[in-house]
């Protein structure tokens, strides 16, 4: 049995390492999701219904309904939900991912990331920037106007620029950014800059209006987390071909909906294994404390699922202080510990501060449960009330319960 599992996990690792995630297009959600409609809202994490959603998720849902023009006020939007007219579905069920609340709706533009090695495509919305944004549950007119600008101005320009560029190889950008101090979850300073540097010659050619060009370049340049959504789509594009490998115990996705943490495992396909989310431990912006924090949320743990984020804290000294992870030695220890629960190492993403080792890659459910070491995730912390936004950043562990449930299911699947 062990030999079959080891061979299957080696195959999963090879698939992850062979991935070639490339940004090929920006399209609208209605163009890429078959059967999608305005009354279906995609959210982060495993499945969840309205009554179980946390404050920011509910706030984002009400804003998303207004954004789609289905209601003029929050009260009208809530009435639609309570009357059962709005359907909720996880991003992951549509080949997509979304940060924090993860709202993806009919009219929203999405990055199309294609894994050129395997032909699969994944989708993620465009990062809205910092401050009051829908991913943290904000839903006022300013939030909706910004989303409309993304839809009507930024998305068409990016679409044309990406087409002119003939696609943008994201793996190259991410690998380079890792050597420049990013871990691609809470720090995307280098990756966002490299992305802008790559796309700017094409934006200049496709956006004729000077003021609009300035607005677009200022928006991208002003958001150090712009690349996060691309890193997430890369993660999903990288991991999706590793689903359904018989005997493989490699985790293919990790995500949270603000109530439960969910994981998927290769040999058990689309099945979710869930346990209550944990509270992140971290640093808070001035005026906020742990009492304000919302429980862990978002599809962004897909970044750790393919070995970045908290797994490569050793390469990102600046993020160690931002997330309150302690000393630089602690950051190195986090990364070293993740080698104990992974199948192998990345052949492309390297950690200069660990003597150029590849990042810990391919989380193995067996190793997680056996060693009692839970994957570490770097995360933003949302205020528990909708509309306030991000109040801090920190580190959180995936709950061990998910992995124990997965191990039981693996045992059943393999008729043990």
């Amino acid at each position: 049995m062990l030999e079959k599992i080891e061979q299957a996990n080696a195959k999963a690792l090879q698939i992850i390492n062979d991935a070639q995630p490339t940004l090929v297009d920006v399209k609208y959600a209605y163009e890429v999701f078959p059967g999608f409609d305005k009354k279906t809202i995609l959210h982060a994490g495993p499945p969840i219904q309205w009554e179980d959603m946390c404050g920011p998720m509910k706030g984002a849902v009400l804003g998303a309904i207004r954004y789609e023009g289905l209601a003029d006020t929050e009260e009208e939007a809530e009435k639609l939900v309570i009357n059962g007219e709005i359907k909720f579905s996880p991003n992951h069920h549509w080949g997509a991912v979304g940060p924090m609340t993860g709202m993806t709706t009919y009219s929203m533009p999405v990055f199309v990331v294609k894994n050129e090695a395997f032909g699969n495509c994944t989708y993620c919305t465009i990062n809205e920037g910092l401050g009051k944004v829908m991913r943290f549950g904000a839903n006022n007119d300013e939030v909706i106007e910004r989303l409309k600008w993304l839809e009507r101005a930024l998305a068409p320009a990016l679409k044309k620029a990406i087409a002119l560029a003939g696609g943008i190889n994201l793996k190259v950008i991410a690998a380079q950014a890792l050597t420049m101090g990013d871990e691609m979850h809470q720090r995307n300073v280098a990756a966002s800059s490299l992305f802008l540097k790559t796309i700017i010659p094409y934006l200049i050619q496709v956006v004729e209006d000077g003021e609009q060009l300035l607005e677009i370049t200022e928006f991208i340049a002003g958001n150090e987390q712009f690349f996060l959504n691309l890193a997430m789509a890369m993660g999903k594009a990288t991991m999706d071909p590793a689903y359904n490998i018989p005997y493989s115990t490699v985790v293919t996705a990790m995500c949270r909906n603000g109530k439960n943490f969910g994981i998927r495992v290769s040999c058990t396909g689309d099945q979710w294994f869930e346990a209550p989310v944990e509270m992140p431990k971290g640093l808070y912006f001035p005026g906020f404390s742990a009492e304000d924090a919302n429980p862990d949320m978002g599809d962004s743990a897909i970044v750790e699922s393919f070995g970045l984020g908290g797994f490569c804290m050793a390469t990102a000294p600046a993020v160690v202080r931002f997330v309150g992870a302690g000393t630089f030695q602690d950051a190195i220890n986090y990364s070293k510990q993740m080698y104990e629960i992974t199948v192998g190492k990345s052949t492309h993403y390297i950690l200069p501060n660990l003597d150029f080792e590849g990042t810990p890659t391919g989380i193995d459910v067996i190793k997680v449960v056996d060693k009692g070491i839970a994957p570490v995730i770097n995360t933003g912390i949302a205020h528990k009330e909708p509309g306030v936004g991000q109040v801090g950043a920190g580190v959180v562990n995936a709950p061990m319960g998910c992995f124990e449930k997965a191990l039981v299911a693996i045992g059943e699947k393999l008729n043990l």
Binding site: I5, T249, V369, D370, K371, G372, L407, G411, L414
Partner: protein, 57 residues
């Protein structure tokens, strides 16, 4: 004097395996100690151990 009392009359050099608070207590008492970061497999959960043993065959 029996052997155990002899041991404690000398300078102690301790290797602590597992529970970190034991290690910290000795540090607080200026005892030379090395800590081994160890946990029982699957945290000692018998159901998990049973599955792990079958998977490891």
């Amino acid at each position: 004097m029996n052997k155990i009392n002899e041991l404690f009359s000398q300078e102690l050099k301790v290797i602590n395996v597992g529970i970190e608070s034991f290690y910290n207590s000795l540090i607080d008492q200026n005892v030379k100690v090395v800590n081994v970061n160890w946990k029982p497999p699957a945290g000692g959960n018998e159901k998990m151990l049973s599955i792990l043993n079958k998977l490891n065959r």
